[in-house]
């Protein structure tokens, strides 16, 4: 089960990254981030990987869920 959920759907750049970063900073994993654009998906993934995390991405219709683990 994910410990922290971040709903970043409909938020424009860079809000999804800011929210995801804040969640990661709390140090409780995994963090599950839902976004609805490829741009946000890539930005959140890049930020998480830069912070030494592993990211698994799944897609449902036009939404993406990123499960971020340390």
């Amino acid at each position: 089960m994910s410990a922290i959920f971040v709903d970043a759907r409909g938020l424009s750049c860079p809000q999804p990254v800011i929210l995801a970063h804040k969640a990661i900073s709390e140090g409780v994993f995994p963090v599950e981030v839902t976004v609805d654009t490829v741009t946000s998906r890539e930005n959140v993934r890049r930020m998480a990987e830069k912070n030494g995390c592993k990211v698994e991405i799944s897609q449902q219709d036009d939404e993406f869920t990123l499960v971020i683990k340390k």
Partner: protein
Amino acid sequence: MRDRLTQFFASRWGIIFVGAAIGILGPVLQKAGNPTNMGICVACFERDIAGAIGLHRANIVQYLRPEIPGFVLGSTIAALIFREFKARSGSAPIVRFVLGVFAMIGALAFLGCPWRASFRLAGGDMTSLPALLGLIIGITGGVWFLRSGYNLGRSQKTYPAVGWIMPILMIGLLLLLIFRPVFSEGGPIFFSDKGPGSMYAPLLVSLGVGLIIGFLAQRSRFCTMGAVRDVILMRDYHLISGLLGLIVAALLTNLVLGQFKIGYTGMPVAHSNWLWNTLGMVLAGLAYSLAGGCPGRQLFLSGEGDGDSAVFVLGMIVGAGIAHNFNLAAKADAVSDGVLTVGGLSPFGMAAVILGIVFCLLIGFTLRQKVA
């Protein structure tokens, strides 16, 4: 193939490739006829479009620049091929509109957007330095607001037709350019016969370059404001590698084409009043960061179905009309008989820039969710 291309454009080399491509194509457009150090300028070109359809009557800056429809439609094509076209809207459109108006007023105080500031630097125009400093100050202010909880709220997925409005408007502009209908005697469409508006590359060259850049920028998310913002906000050097690629490639291309001329006063379509070059771009940088994208990025987003970015773009075009009708836009330095007259802003222009900064600060302070 599609996935590999997506991976490439999302990579560091991908964004550098796109920046360098834009950096080469800008000076090439200048060589082909566009104004000096204005191979590409999103704000100036939108201002020229505003003039062409009669939103202002500054007769030296009126032309239906096909690069702008090219940017939007190139992005639409990329978004359709890569299945990223998605109609969305409803995130504080009125705020985005007014931010667009003030973003244009700020840009026209300097006579250029961040794209042109970069091209001016790469062409040797040192008045771009205070402007870039102003841009960094404005974006730093925007980052401070972002950190303290500022946001414009969520957009909603909407009917596909909403996403098509901007691309179709752009096709309409292209048709007006191609057929040049006369709507009334002495009326629009206006085309400058002197000044920067009378200088343009051949239509198909401009449109072709616009489409290529629109396509590349949609794939790579190229954004000049985002470049600076990401460095300040999270020490992320991805987008800024693209911007640096643009500047270096443009500098080299200018040197090869003999278009590099270093100087500070009397530079082409520029003024040398450092204070208002700086403050104009403080306003522009603040407005772009509060709206989430530089003028170019807003065009590319509007091409992939983002109705909120489209509203920002329309705000910029209307802002250009206001800027010229109310004498808010800067006058360029002029050299006549060897005597230099330094350009700059009218008192109205100065007041408008200050008013714009105050507006942006109010928006930044009042549109905040509490940060836990």
